[in-house]
Structures are given as C-alpha cells and as structure tokens.
Symmetry: C2
Subunit: 214 residues, 2 copies
C-alpha cells in the first residue's frame, strides 16, 4: 500500500453542521475535536509521517466575534489533546496579533511529546500571504533551501490533502507545500467524520500517478 | 449568472489520449490546439475577463526530448493562434533557459491584439519555485502590492481552475493566485474537449459559495 507521507487536513463544514442541527454556527467547532484525534490515530496506524491540520487562518478571523472565539478555543483544546499523543508538534501562525492565543505560544517551535513518532503541524492564525511575505524579510533563500525563507519552512511537501465539507479549494493552505498535492474532497461535514472517509481517501490515493509535476 | 473573472486551464491528458489512439505520446499535443482556441472563444462569449493556460512547466522539461520538442511546438502554435484573436497576451516563464522558445520572447511583456478584450496568460517554461523565488531578489514587497515581487505579479487572482484528464491537483499552477480558486476536474482528456465541459464547470461554479478564505 502506497501511504502518503504527509497529509493535509481541511476540517471544513462545522458551521453548516451546526445549522443543520438547529444549533448556533459557533456550536459546531468543538464537535470537531474528537474527529481530529481519531484521524490522528488512524494516520499513525497507517504509517503516515506528517499531518497538517488547518486550524484557522488570518482570513477566518474576519468572522463574527462569537465564532472567532469558538474556533480559537477549539484549536487550543485540539493542540492540548495532541500533547497527550506521540507527536512532534508545531503550531504555525502569525503570533504578532491578538488572534493568536498565548496558550499556544510554547508550541511555536516544534516540541516532542511521547515517542514523537509523527510530525503534527497545526496552523493557527496562519496566512498564505504572511507565509510567502516572509521571503522578502528573510536572509535565507528559496534557492539554497527548498522552502527556505518561508515562514513554513519547517513543514514539508504535502502528498494528499483531504477536505471535508464538499468545497473544492485549498483556501490558502500552505501554497508552496501543496503545489503537487492530490486533492480528495468528502462531501460530509467534518463533525460527521467517519474512519471510512479516511480509508476511501487512501484507496483513491492508490490509483493516483504521482509525478511531482514531471 | 455568476461568471468567474479569471479561469485557469490545465489541459492535461494529451499523452494518455494519444496512447489510447495507438499513437506515440508526443503526437497528442497538437490535438490540443483547436480545443484551446474553442475554449478561448467560449470564455469571451460568456464575459470571462482573464484566462491562464498552463502550457508547460520547468518540471515538464525533464521528459524525453521528443515529447519536450512536441509540447514546445504546440505552445508556440497556440500563442500564434491567439495573436489573431482579441487578446491582451502575456507569455510567462523562465526565459533564462534553452527550453524557452525564442519565438515567444516578444510576448513576455503583455501585447494587445485586436480589441484586446481578454487578458490571456500563457505559461511557458513556468515554475512555481522560480515564481516565488523571485520574491527574494525583488525590491518590491508582497506587503505593498498584493502579488508584488512575484514573477507572476501581472497575473491576477484565479476564481476557477478547470483541469482536464482526471487528476485532482494543481501541479504547481500559480500557487499565489490559485489559493482561493475553486477546482473543477473533467475526467476526459484535453484533446476530447467539448463545449459542454465548460458549461458544466460554469454550472457547478454557480453553486459555490465564494468566500475568499473568509
């Protein structure tokens, strides 16, 4: 079985899920915590080496304050849950903003928990423009180091992006690392995560001819 | 009708099409010329303002020489065909390489043909890494100008990417401009282009909730 080394996860559809249940939009986010942990464990079992969770972006923080508050809290909780697992954990995002929760500052350099067997990247207040913009300020060069000069230079190439919630777009997820990624979309909302979604994505990935642009 | 302002076209599957017909792989490329022109005319009719064609990439030039020669020729012919239309034409790619055909050098600054009603960008020996790498050398900043410092700074945000040939990936297409693009995949190979493919993509686009990451 061909296992993607690095999977990017876009856990979308929390608000639509909540609305369908007659809840307030912001009540959908904490329903995404258990799926995130379950998916982490499935990836570990299959031998995936790196996972990136798309927590929230600088774009997302333009939403109403009650939603913003709810997804920031969900991200803090998700990262805390992962510290109890075997993860080498990195939180990446713009810390020069009140939207970046101070609780997550300790993880902005990679920290190893347990056996640290999987690299887990969690994007929190991430922005693609912020990520690329750093190239100009950096003394490193994209020429001397493949992702050198990017804010995300500690995150490697993504093989497979899985997005829940039916939308067929990257929404700014790591533009440099995602250039060759195969993109699998699940129509169900993230809080309705089932292990079968992950298995279906892996099955589909088996049939992709990986050329890295060649 | 919600018309995407800028459509990115990935005309993939020429080689697989040729093989299915019992031809040599390199014989598939010039079968993509007429579809390219037909699609240009359909876009114009619908009021699309900008089109980007993914000609070939620096990655692609690692292929066997007979294929490389064939797709370079097809790109030269495609650009020449477009000069007879109402297009404001730009060819973008790494000209510091023997792979960039000298015939296309005159179009590396945007040139207006006919009424110049549509911006048409044609990527020729383009590389995403080359595009982003320029940020470091440039005096412009991504902060002062949205795409400033990119080699592709004259190309605007892509609303809709349409890819033929079934693969669900961007393969390095303009990573900065494609961050929010909705991504529609057609399983048929590019030489089997039908206007209905384009209409289906537009119909699908009507139902997308465009949030630009928000």
């Amino acid at each position: 079985m061909k296992v993607p080394k690095h999977i990017g996860i876009i856990p979308d559809g929390n608000r639509r899920w909540a609305q369908n249940k007659g809840l307030l939009k912001e009540q959908g986010y904490d329903k995404g915590l258990d799926p995130g942990l379950e998916l982490y464990r499935l990836c570990k079992e299959k031998g995936v080496e790196e996972i990136t969770y798309y927590g929230f972006t600088m774009d997302n923080t333009k939403r109403p304050a009650n939603q913003t508050k709810a997804f920031i809290e969900a991200c803090i909780n998700a990262v805390n849950m992962l510290t109890a697992e075997d993860a080498a954990l990195l939180v990446l995002g713009n810390t020069d903003s009140a939207m970046f929760p101070k609780e997550l500052l300790p993880y902005t350099t990679r920290k190893q928990f347990g056996k640290g067997t999987i690299k887990v990247n969690f994007l929190v207040n991430y922005g693609w423009h912020w990520d690329l913009g750093h190239l100009i300020e950096s003394k490193e060069s994209l020429k001397s180091n493949y992702y050198g000069g990017l804010k995300s230079s500690d995150i490697s190439r993504i093989d497979l992006v899985i997005r829940w919630g039916g939308r067929r777009r990257l929404s700014g997820l790591l533009p440099a690392q995602a250039v060759y990624a195969d993109f699998y979309v699940i129509d169900e909302y993230w809080p309705d995560f089932k292990p079968q979604h992950f298995y279906d994505a892996l099955d589909w990935y088996q049939h992709q001819d990986i050329t890295l642009g060649g």
